[in-house]
């Protein structure tokens, strides 16, 4: 019951966000799934299609598109994407700058530098499965009317 209430709250927030319109930064997220098909030359081609047919084990790509719709450049942009429930982070998508990741939502860094606390009190090196948040810091401001796309690959548990 608690989960359902939380989900409803998120949905309300999502609907409300575009209506705010005060912020010049708009963001659109979508989830794609890898579809393998045989190409004419005999190789297997992997294409990204909207996540309609998704079963456990399928590779999905979470895409985050952003755009500055305001008149002024936007600086210090930090885009954060919590890894969805039941989805395991795998890697950054080709063409996207490397993000900072976190295993607890508080400490961000490269995956190799992160450690996870085990139930017995010790720590171990973090793996892709441990990632809970993905975050990008844009080094340069977004000029008016400009935008971009960021993406990371994951797998449905």
């Amino acid at each position: 019951m608690t989960l359902r209430l939380l989900g409803a709250a998120v949905a309300v927030a999502a609907i409300a966000a575009p209506a705010l319109a005060a912020g010049p930064l708009t963001m659109t997220t979508r989830m794609m799934v890898e579809k393998r098909s045989a190409a004419a030359d005999g190789t297997t081609r992997t294409t990204l299609v909207p996540a309609v047919r998704v079963a456990p084990g399928d590779r999905i790509t979470v895409v985050l598109a952003y755009r500055n719709t305001g008149p002024a450049p936007i600086g210090n942009v930090v885009l954060a994407n919590p890894v969805p429930r039941n989805v395991a982070y795998r890697a950054v998508a080709p063409g996207t700058p490397a993000p900072d990741v976190s295993v607890d939502g508080k400490t961000y860094g490269s995956l190799a530098d992160l450690r996870v606390r085990t139930p017995d009190g010790a720590t171990r090196a973090a793996g892709a499965d441990d990632v809970t948040h993905v975050r990008w810091r844009l080094s340069s401001p977004i000029a008016a009317g400009q935008g971009g796309e960021l993406a990371f690959q994951a797998v449905l548990k």
Binding site: G7, V10, P24, R53, P56, L64, I74, P84, L156, K157
Partner: protein, 372 residues
């Protein structure tokens, strides 16, 4: 909270954790085969920024999709062959069905007694009567008549297992010794406890925000078998082998005078003449070998056994020995050939032991006596 209260709380907490641990060991993890079908996956991103020195935040839309039903199962025989007896009722083979789907599923069961040669070792020669399929209700792996009565697998959890029995009666006089059965297990919709769901059909059109049915099962029995790739069903095979089998064994005996010391051409049964007795044993059941045959014969009164005269393995028909077999030792020790013979001087008994007599064949044993 007082110190005592805190300790009590700690103790209670420990007890709770311990009980959760034991419960998990017994119940299956619903997510064992991946996220449950029908689960909604949502993604929302947030951002923070500054415009002209003023901080702001933004939230993206929420993207969602539904996790589809990835249908998979395994069906394996617990043992390839069970030994049964003639006329046995309630003979059964056992199979294990594992739900590899990412949701609770029903599984419908059916059997086929027409099995192509080559799937199993041996040849399918007879069928069982009154064939039924039951699910093991108490998990003991043994068919309990009247206790295991469910005819389909109800609400099997992801990664859950069920044992299935294919039960039938062995005919009293079957052809051959082996019956083979195939068990078909079809994945059906779960949800209604106590009632079998409808057989799943792969979704032809994939709709957004709908739990599609995707078959991910393999062809688990090769080209000869009934199963096919990605059909939501699995097959497994087992055989009922009649280990103890009655055979139609007959023995014929004849005697012929070999020599009388007088006439070489037409010897008569005179005192001092040598008489050969010929025992021909025939296995009249064509397809079943007879094993452990013991022939015994007490020599007639007023005759004396001729030492070293037992031979076994000769060809013989209607009690007449045509060709001599392997000579045997009188003391029962192994001589050449697979047979054994012996003569007991106390009981005046001749014994011939034949380890195996193939179906539809006959074999002769002979010995000689001297008329006193």
């Amino acid at each position: 909270m007082t110190a005592t209260g805190a300790r009590r709380w700690l103790l209670a907490g420990t007890a709770a954790i311990a009980s959760i641990g034991s419960a998990q060991a017994q119940t299956v993890n619903p997510n064992a085969n991946g996220t449950l079908a029908g689960t909604t996956i949502t993604n929302t991103a947030t951002a923070s920024y500054t415009v002209n020195g003023t901080a702001g935040t933004a939230t993206s839309n929420t993207a969602t999709f539904l996790v589809d039903r990835k249908v998979n199962l395994t069906v394996v025989p617990v043992q390839n062959t069970v030994q049964v007896n003639l006329g046995q009722t309630g003979a059964y083979t056992s199979f294990q069905v594992t739900n590899a789907t990412n949701d609770y599923q029903d599984f419908l069961l059916s059997a086929n007694q027409t099995i192509l040669t080559g799937i199993l070792t041996g040849t399918d020669t007879y069928d069982l009567a009154d064939l039924k399929i039951y699910v093991d209700s108490n998990g003991n792996g043994t068919y309990d008549a009247g206790v295991d009565t469910a005819e389909f697998i109800d609400e099997l959890a992801p990664d859950g297992r069920a044992t299935v029995f294919v039960v039938g009666n062995i005919p009293a006089s079957p052809i051959g010794t082996m019956a083979q059965v195939g068990l078909q297990v079809r994945t059906a919709a779960g949800g209604g406890t106590g009632t079998p769901g409808a057989v799943l059909v792969a979704s032809a059109v994939n709709l957004d925000n709908q739990t599609d049915v995707v078959f991910a099962d393999d062809d688990n029995d090769g080209l000869l078998g009934y199963d096919a790739l990605r059909n939501g069903a699995g097959w497994a095979y087992g055989s009922y082998d009649i280990g103890v089998h009655a055979v139609n064994l007959t023995v014929a005996k004849s005697a012929s005078v070999v020599s009388d010391g007088v006439s070489a051409l037409n010897p008569k049964a005179l005192p001092g003449a040598i008489v050969q007795y010929c025992l021909t044993v025939t296995n009249g059941t064509l397809t079943t070998p007879a094993s452990g045959i013991n022939l015994t014969d007490v020599i007639p009164a007023n005759t004396t056994y001729v030492p070293g005269s037992i031979t076994i393995g000769g060809l013989g028909t209607n009690g007449v020995c045509l060709v001599g077999g392997f000579p045997q030792n009188d003391d029962g020790t192994q001589a050449t050939g697979p047979y054994r013979g012996s003569y007991d001087a106390g009981t005046k008994t001749v014994t011939a032991t034949i380890p195996t007599l193939l179906g539809g064949t006959s074999l002769a044993a002979s010995f000689r006596v001297k008329i006193n």
